[in-house]
């Protein structure tokens, strides 16, 4: 009886939600976003110490000849870098979208909930104890680290009296980040690997190589496909756990798979760029505002707009103060902090 009543209620909510989702706007947003992304990538490739015209960029990508220096620059340095930025952005944004949907927590973001700090801590451990480890293993350690961070945060959050409120999770995330950050710094100081790590901590995509992309590519692709498969279930979960069960969802399995996807995405992104926060917070909120509450559209738009955000941030980081590069993590925080304050002011309840 109860389940059928909940099922009915769920169906009503679902209908209401479908009314509030805007497929046409979503398609338009996707197309606009993709065009913008291609344009941003082209712009980012053409700009640098050696200015390269857009037509050369086009030729270098689609008609590569290894004799030309400009083609070499594009192929070996700029292209992997900008693709790395796009991938990282997509990863952070999708992991944020999944977390926000599954936990109905508007403040969910891999940076705020300790995943990024966990992955960064594991990187320090890797550099200290297994120097010269290949990137293939580093990325796996990074997944483990992200898991460690989130396990502590949720562990503390769920022991707490009064349960897992969004604010409490953010506070626990801040404390866990401080703890893992301090441990990582201690390790870095002791083993004198601060220089190697600074590159990660500062959060830059400048060192991305094709080999990195090759290794993380399959992981990210698999996780993204998984996210899209799960997206319908995440929409139902975002209506509330009981409703999702009433509509015949096996919420336990969905949550486990969702969490694994989040760990892979956040871990892979941190292993490239370091603990950059706020992408996973801003982008899903933005896309939700445009496309409504259907996670099929939120996740696919988050891929595009997350990529766009980080590519643009990386581009701006290079042009602010040439020849130096500003850390993109800091740049994104300049948008992310006010946005977070706005959400916190709303009380962190609505989602």
């Amino acid at each position: 009886m109860a389940t059928s009543a909940e099922g009915l209620e769920g169906l009503e909510k679902l209908e209401e939600l479908q009314k509030r989702s805007h497929p046409i706007r979503a398609v338009v947003a996707l197309v606009v976003g993709l065009v913008g992304l291609v344009f941003a990538i082209a712009l980012s490739i053409s700009f640098g110490a050696a200015d390269i015209s857009l037509s050369t960029v086009w030729k270098a990508v689609f008609n590569f000849s290894s004799d030309l220096t400009e083609h070499q620059i594009i192929h070996e340095i700029r292209l992997p870098r900008v693709l790395g930025a796009a991938l990282v952005g997509a990863c952070f944004a999708v992991s944020g979208a999944i977390m926000q949907g599954m936990t109905r927590n508007p403040l969910a973001d891999s940076g705020l909930l300790g995943l990024n700090a966990g992955a960064a801590f594991m990187l320090a451990v890797c550099f200290a104890f297994f120097p010269g480890l290949s990137y293939m293993y580093i990325i796996m350690w990074s997944f483990l680290g992200a898991g460690l961070g989130v396990a502590i945060v949720y562990g503390v959050g769920s022991i707490a009296k009064g349960g897992l409120t969004p604010m409490r999770l953010v506070l626990a995330g801040a404390a866990v980040s401080a703890l893992l950050g301090a441990l990582g710094e201690g390790i870095a100081l002791y083993f004198r690997i601060g220089q190697d790590l600074a590159f990660w901590y500062a959060g830059g995509v400048s060192g991305t190589k094709w080999s990195h992309l090759q290794i993380m590519g399959p992981w990210i692709l698999a996780a993204m496909i998984g996210a899209l498969i799960l997206s319908r279930s995440i929409t139902l979960l975002s209506l509330g756990e009981e409703i999702a069960i009433g509509l015949g969802q096996r919420t336990g399995i969905i949550k486990v798979w969702g969490m694994i996807i989040v760990l892979v995405l956040a871990g892979a992104a941190v292993s490239v760029v370091g603990a950059v926060g706020f992408v996973g917070l801003i982008v899903p909120h933005l896309t939700r505002y445009i496309v409504g509450h259907d996670y099929r559209w939120i996740i696919s738009c988050s891929v595009v707009y997350g990529a766009l955000l980080v590519v643009l941030a990386d581009f701006i980081a290079r042009i602010i103060n040439p020849p130096y590069e500003s850390p993109i993590g800091a740049l994104i925080a300049f948008i992310g902090v006010p946005f977070f304050l706005y959400l916190a002011r709303k009380g962190g309840k609505e989602l």
Binding site: A174, A175, L189, V337, F340, L341, A344
Partner: protein, 345 residues
């Protein structure tokens, strides 16, 4: 007033117990002080330390103790006291068990000013050190005002949780600004700022002791004289108004004192967090919630904590040093999580 007289016997007992606890804490600080004096590349026996302290040591021993170790130890103790009292005030006036100048982002504001200071007066030059706490106070004060304004909502005032969230966000923003600013520093200044951020007691020099001391000497007694106000504020706003305390005014003065203590301490010690959180809590467990006794106990616990952290950091991995801030964070973050888990919404 009548119940006072018949509580006297037990009150006297508590007073004795409290005095006992305060003296134990003092003795612990002295013991750690002696251990810390012995910690370093050049070993000195406790006897040598004592005889040097009383002017009987040779030139090398005197140099090591008086020019290097002693100022550092004194700075560590003063910083610990300042941060602990700052935290005790914040917890008292906001009735928020998780308040701490580090978590609330006040330390970050001081840090930003210190960084600006360093970029204008490189670490090598003879910088006007006494300006440092003043600048840090301005930085932390502006940050405190910003956080207060951002977390204030009409009709609701300020809720503890929103205050903390705002503080975390503002601290994140400020540290981003600092990261961007570090790019403009020369390599040696950059290294210096990096160690500062990690919270190493860098001002190990008599100049810094003199720069920090006035703040502690003036503000600690001031705060102590407000113990009764803090007790009343702790009862809750309505009770406090009922008892005739002009809340807003008192609260602002205390907040200013708290910000001043945190800023001055952090300007010399670097980014040490969690002391202001842990020390008052431990002190409350030891002596109870009355501020007349809680404040001195917090100060002693805080001084002991930072001194121990610094000593551990120096001795654990000789000859490299772990900044005290890291040691404190490794101890303090789990404690924060524990408090968070115990706290009711």
């Amino acid at each position: 007033m009548s119940h006072y007289s018949y509580l006297t016997a037990s009150q006297q007992k508590t007073r004795k117990k409290n005095l006992f606890i305060l003296s134990i804490l003092t003795i612990l600080i002295i013991i750690t002080f002696i251990i810390s004096m012995n910690t370093g590349v050049i070993k000195l026996t406790p006897m040598e330390v004592l005889s040097t302290l009383f002017g009987q040591g040779d030139a090398q021993q005197q140099l090591i103790l008086f020019e290097f170790r002693l100022p550092r130890i004194i700075v560590a103790v003063l910083v610990g006291m300042g941060l602990a009292i700052s935290g005790a005030i914040l917890q008292g006036i906001s009735r928020n068990a998780l308040a701490d100048p580090g978590i609330l982002g006040i330390n970050a504001g001081a840090g930003l000013m210190v960084m600006l200071f360093i970029s204008f007066f490189p670490a090598t030059a003879a910088a006007p050190v006494f300006l440092l706490p003043v600048l840090a106070f301005i930085g932390s004060g502006m940050t405190a005002i910003l956080i207060y304004a951002l977390s204030y909502k009409r009709h609701e005032g300020i809720t503890p949780m929103r205050l903390l969230l705002t503080g975390i966000a503002v601290a994140a923003g400020i540290s981003s600004a600092m990261i961007v600013l570090t790019l403009r520093l020369s390599p040696e200044n950059y290294q210096f700022v990096a160690t500062w951020l990690a919270g190493s007691i860098w001002g190990s020099n008599w100049k810094f002791v003199l720069a920090l001391l006035p703040w502690i000497v003036v503000l600690l007694p001031f705060v102590y004289s407000k113990s009764r106000v803090l007790n009343v504020l702790n009862l809750g706003e309505l009770t406090a108004v009922g008892l005739g305390a002009s809340i807003e005014k008192e609260r602002r003065w205390l907040l200013a004192a708290s910000v001043g203590l945190a800023g001055a301490s952090v300007s010399v010690s670097g980014g040490i967090g969690f002391v202001g959180l842990i020390a008052p809590h431990l002190a409350r467990q030891l002596v109870g919630a009355k501020h007349q006794i809680l404040l001195p106990a917090s100060a002693l616990v805080g001084g002991l904590l930072v001194l121990m952290a610094d000593t551990i950091g120096r001795s654990l991995l000789e000859p490299s040093e772990i900044p005290a801030g890291i040691v404190v964070a490794v101890l303090g973050a789990p404690y924060f999580l524990y408090l968070l888990a115990r706290l009711k919404q």
